[in-house]
Symmetry: C2
DNA sequence: ACTACGATGTACGCATCGTTCACATCGCGC
DNA sequence: GCGCGATGTGAACGATGCGTACATCGTAGT
């Protein structure tokens, strides 16, 4: 905590983000108050306003960070997926991320997300583009646009259903099996999709 | 507003629910405060506490009502879907519902949803069972459990992605085409699923 | 007919929150 | 040195969730 002085913090912006992340993981979205963030950063209640216009801006920043981490996490699962199996691995990583960071994942997707935050739209576009590129290499003949949103939707829906306890998330294996099965169900249709694109 | 007296409201419970629904559609989830609900019902700020333990309980009640309406809406789209096309119609209705009642839909799914609310889990179980029954009649040979959660996840994900503006929701036709296409992509795999179940 | 009681609302208070505004304090460029 | 812009402080306002004590009603039992 490189504090430049007793008065000035040094890097309040980053400290707020870190505090916000921690509060999110600890107390859920409800616990994320600007005042609590300020408290945790050891700073007055109004100091964060120097760096974030309002609570929404802070949440957006946290969400954007979450998007970046998600992207890293997916890339970590498999750098260059090019088969349905490898794609399934990435899908499992997506759902795992949601289950490992439930409050963060909800903050990323479960809020109105005013489109004004460019940081946010850029990050989500990156995710979409990433999925698109995977689909392109995995199914060169298919309609990449349509198929990528379809697979994204499938995985995204699985993540939310798991988060809401609608699906069996008791063991990592159960989740893996569920997600892998669902992805394969979709990809067994790839020949049909491919021919449809050629038609 | 059958008010039994100037003092007693008559049916505050129902009035609160109605007010909450209205506030949700008008101001989004953030605008849903117990005090605002009380105000709209023309009653003191703490009166609703007689009927709902806390804010969370009210939201749960609204969400449960939302689940019931969703079920009705789906049934209205097609009473007894038994082909992929008819199932796609129901899927479109699902996404439409989300887009027509964004705040309500988010309240239904985008919150931690403590599993203590039986009203809520019962309602969501009903939805899941409904999907399951459709899948069973549409694909008698398939693994109904696996396939139904897969299709639910697909549609659910599409709904959220549309809600978040990640997909083109500019015209109803675009939404319909998107959802129909995705569902068909999944169902073209049904023979594979069926054989897998038999294996 | 009266009365006691349980259900329903009200009045009031407390802690917290988001946000604003005037002011204090620091570091850096002149 | 020193002045100015960036950064952080403090008090304050209105709104919120929620708890507690009290008021008011319909009604059942006498």
């Amino acid at each position: 905590m490189a504090r430049t002085s007793a008065y000035h913090h040094g890097d309040l912006r980053a400290a707020c983000l870190r505090a916000a992340r921690e509060l999110l993981e600890e107390d859920g979205s409800a616990g994320l108050s600007l005042r609590a963030v300020a408290r945790r950063a050891g700073v007055s209640a109004t100091a964060p306003y120097r760096h974030y216009a309002d609570r929404e801006a802070l949440v957006s920043a946290v969400a954007a960070e979450g998007y970046r981490e998600l992207a890293e996490h997916l890339a970590g699962a498999h750098p260059t997926p090019s088969t349905p199996d490898e794609l399934a691995t990435v899908a499992v990583a997506y759902v795992r991320f949601a289950l490992d960071h439930p409050a963060l994942f909800r903050a990323m997707f479960a809020e109105p997300c005013d489109p004004a935050s460019e940081e946010r739209v850029a990050a989500t576009n990156a995710i979409h583009e990433y999925v698109r590129s995977i689909v392109r290499t995995t199914f060169p003949g298919a309609d990449a646009e349509a198929l990528s949103t379809t697979v994204w939707a499938l995985v995204h829906g699985l993540a939310f259903l798991h988060l809401d306890g609608k699906l069996d998330s008791s063991t990592p294996e159960a989740v893996t099996a569920q997600v892998t099965g669902a992805v394969h169900a979709l990809f067994d249709a790839s020949p049909a999709l491919t021919s449809a694109a050629r038609r």
